[in-house]
């Protein structure tokens, strides 16, 4: 199967008042198209930093990220933005919905930005698929946490990304809602055959991925394989 994402000797060091701090050290990994990968680890292990680097939201101190054969580290911010626009989708722990926009408008936003026709219809379809057909005109503060995350998932899939990065998608939700959300996420993922890179500290969620990597103190510890859903 073709590789869609590859990290080579990826390191990230930041300068703090106390001196240089290495957050990630020599990370090597690759993700195949259509694969689902969970990166697990304790708080502060560098999971979110790694996700940011893999998705091209940030640049490594050294090493390379290849996303669909494009070397993200060789691109400037505009170039990385283009790659994200064309291939990447996100689901965040804190949902990242714009509070002033309705659920429908939040989903429409990336479609409008990409200039695609029929943004409204498409957004309505996806909101219906996540079970929010009746709540199109609600604003995020009027929705529960689970509903907000469903809007975020609809927004992510509406753009039909090749690869979806999910950062603790159930981290802010109770376990029952978390289960609903993860069902929705994996269901849509399977349907769209999207590559999924998921960051979580929940084993239950990680176990639903085809593969797991554990991160501790900025280094990959175990390369677990083929966990069964």
């Amino acid at each position: 199967m073709a590789t869609i994402l590859q990290a080579r000797d990826l390191s990230k060091t930041v300068t703090t008042a106390a001196g240089d701090l290495t957050i990630l050290k020599d990370i090597n990994l690759s993700v195949d198209k259509g694969e689902s990968l969970a990166i697990t680890g304790a708080s502060g292990s560098g999971k979110s930093t790694l996700l940011g680097l893999l998705a091209g939201l940030d640049v490594p101190t050294s090493g390379q990220v290849l996303l669909a054969d494009e070397d993200l580290s060789a691109l400037d911010e505009e170039g990385r933005a283009r790659v994200r626009a064309e291939r990447v989708g996100f689901v965040f722990q804190s949902f990242q919905l714009l509070p002033g926009l309705t659920a429908l408008e939040n989903v429409m936003l990336p479609l409008e930005l990409s200039g695609k026709a029929g943004a409204r219809q498409q957004a309505q379809d996806y909101l219906a698929r996540v079970g929010l057909a009746e709540r199109l005109e609600h604003y995020p503060p009027q929705l529960s946490g689970g509903e907000q995350q469903r809007v975020a998932i609809a927004r992510a899939f509406a753009c039909a990304p090749e690869i979806l990065f999910a950062d603790e998608p159930t981290g802010n939700l109770d376990s029952a809602t978390g289960k609903t959300i993860s069902d929705l996420l994996f269901g849509l993922n399977a349907e769209a055959d999207t590559t999924l890179v998921l960051i979580t500290h929940e084993d239950r969620l990680a176990n639903r991925c085809a593969r797991q990597l554990q991160l501790a103190a900025g280094e990959l510890l175990i390369s677990a394989s083929a966990a069964v859903q």
Binding site: S48, D58, E77, A81, R84, A85, F90, Q96
Partner: protein, 824 residues
Amino acid sequence: MLALRLLWRNWRSGEVKLLAIALTLAVTVVSTIALFTDRLESTLLEQSNSLLGADKLITSNQPHQAAWQSEAEEQGIDTSRVAHFASMVFAGDEMHLASIKAVGQRYPLRGYIDLSEQPFATSGPSVTRASGIPPAGEVWVDSRLLPLLHIELGDSLQIGEHSFTASKVIVSEPDGSGPFSVMGARIMMNMADLDKTRVIQPGSRVEYQWLLASDPDDLQAFVEWLEPRLTEHEEVVGIENAQRRLQGTLKTGRRFLVLAAVMGVLLAGVAIALAARQFAARHINPVALLKSLGVGARRIRLLYLAQLSCLSLLAALVGLALGYAIQELIALAVYRLYQIEMAPAQWQTYLLSVISGPVALVGFALPGLWFLPNVAPIKVLRQDLEVNTGAVLWQIAMACGVLILLVVVFGRDLMLGATVLLALAVVAVLAGLLAYGLLSLGKKAGAQAGSRWRLAVASIQRRRSASVLQVVVFATAVMLLLTLTIVRTSLIEEWQVKVPEDAPNHFLLNIAPSEVEPFQTLLDKNQLSVEQLYPMVRGRLTFINERPKPEDTLNREASLTWSDQLADDNEVVAGQWWDEWSGSESGLPGVSVEAEVAERLDISLGDELTFSIGGLEAKAEVASFRTLEWESLQPNFYFIFQPGALDDYSPMYMTSVYLPPEQKTFINTLLTNYPTIVVIELDRIINQIRTIVSQVSDGVGLVLLMVLLGGCLVLVASVNGSINERKQEAGLLRALGASRSLITGGVWTEFAILGFAAGIIAAVAAEALLIGLQVAVFEVPVQPHYIYWLLTPVVTAVFVAAIGAFSCRHAVNTPPAVVLREAA
């Protein structure tokens, strides 16, 4: 289209509302002041020009050339003609040497002729405005002509070979004090009747005036075309050299309005900058999200620029409409009060007002927003990441640059704008330090005080830098308001002092020495008094030392007087007055010269001046220079001689007297007894100055209102910045059992403390700024304002507390459950 959609969504969510309001206010302030100043200036100029009856006029002893007329028509200049001359008029056995003014069609080009059918009326229902010039065969006359000729309105009088009906009396007319008016009562006739009288013969002494009016640029172009073609007998007369008294008033009024404009715009600018910062702070996460969705920095910049451009343009249009409406209301009020129709504003002013919206956006808002597209996309994952919001100095520099630009374009007074800005910069820095100190004091006091006080002080300490900023902003706003109020009051008082109610309103000239005593008896009998009788001879300055006087200055006879007393409004600025003067080495008598004319004529102390008085020569040595107040409406002289210096020249006397309106007919009694006495009626000029002062102070009142609005908006904007944080704090406190009244009391106390600190700083700073303005700009004596020292902190504390509590009402009133859920 996408930008418009995004703008609409941002508007709906309330995120751009404050920015929009601040921008609208800026444009409203700019357009109100710009439109009003423009209209006021044009109106004042028109009114001043109405003293000429035109914008400019060409005086000559010949009718103007026909070729000029066609050139004027071609260039779109309005013209009219006037001929002034003195002639005997007869009615039965009575006769009078009248000052006759023959006027052509369209006279006056500026101003109005007010008429009445009731002699000596000065106002009231009988006074009507003339819609044209006297019809052929009719004349309009000065009221005092009627008793002089023993006639009534409707009777006829004879001018030269033609008989006219005196149909109306003139209440006021432009150029009332024409060259011959001093000789006798005015008669206004139609130019078409002039030939029928046959009074103008070759050699007759006539002053022809060719009246011109147009918009300033066209007129200037025409005058430039005309000037090289004028002979030495022809002269261009404009308001600049015709009415010096009004000029001073105009200049001060204009400076004041510009000052107010600078302050109004500055406050609106502060509100815009604060609103923009809040907008930027709220858009950090959305921008990071947009970036994660693959939108590049360049596109984000374009998207925001497009949104804000639309917003500023909309704000500009609304602001212009509001500004137009407000100044139109004032114009209406002016019309109702003074029956003065304000001139329309020029189209450039409308355009500039609209442009001020985007300009204010660029200057005040964009610097604070510029960093937004550079927000790192990783911010979506890392909320703790700090965002570089750009260099503050650069933002301040941009704001100052735009402010100066606005001041130069609208106010056309760079010095004033720069002075105020510099002063404000110093004030802001000092206020920052003072505020820091005062708030630290508050902390100590808070530790020993009750719970409301502690809550308030804790809140101030938690937002220490924001609190200092708020105090500086409040202090600046209050200082500006205070300065404007005091300057306004003192300017009006100053004008009132200069033109008191009982200021002399008539000059009486040509009183013969033998008439002085009976004249004074007559005054006493009528309970009128004069301050001083000035002896006067008419003479022409011919030589300064051995060189002839420069040709371009003082080409006429001047009134020469002598006196041992220095008038109250005169001040010796160089040399000595007679009591200290050691006398001339050559034995010549001394002369004191008005300082400005001395400068124009390049006269130095000790120079020998030669005057020609009735063909005889008189010499004197310059002993001193004097400044004098033309605004005072007292008799003033360019040259005052040492007593006795002009004894050989038979003097006539002059004086000034205050005649209440009901005693106006005294002039008749006076002239019947002493027909050679010449009366100059100043009451019209005084009324004119009063009207102008009223107009300017109306304008100033309006500007104060706008500045106050700006101040309020700044308060709301600055409180709004911390509103979410406050909401959470209040929610948490209430969840922990604090009562609503405790929290409300805490908010009131907090803003009262900030207001009190701001008030103290404002009073100190305003006093400092006032001293600067009084000394450097308005040139009036420095006066402390102790009452404001006491009142300002208290009033500011109450005002700021009220606005603060109002702005925080949602934070206090939202149920804690809602607040905590939103915060989760």
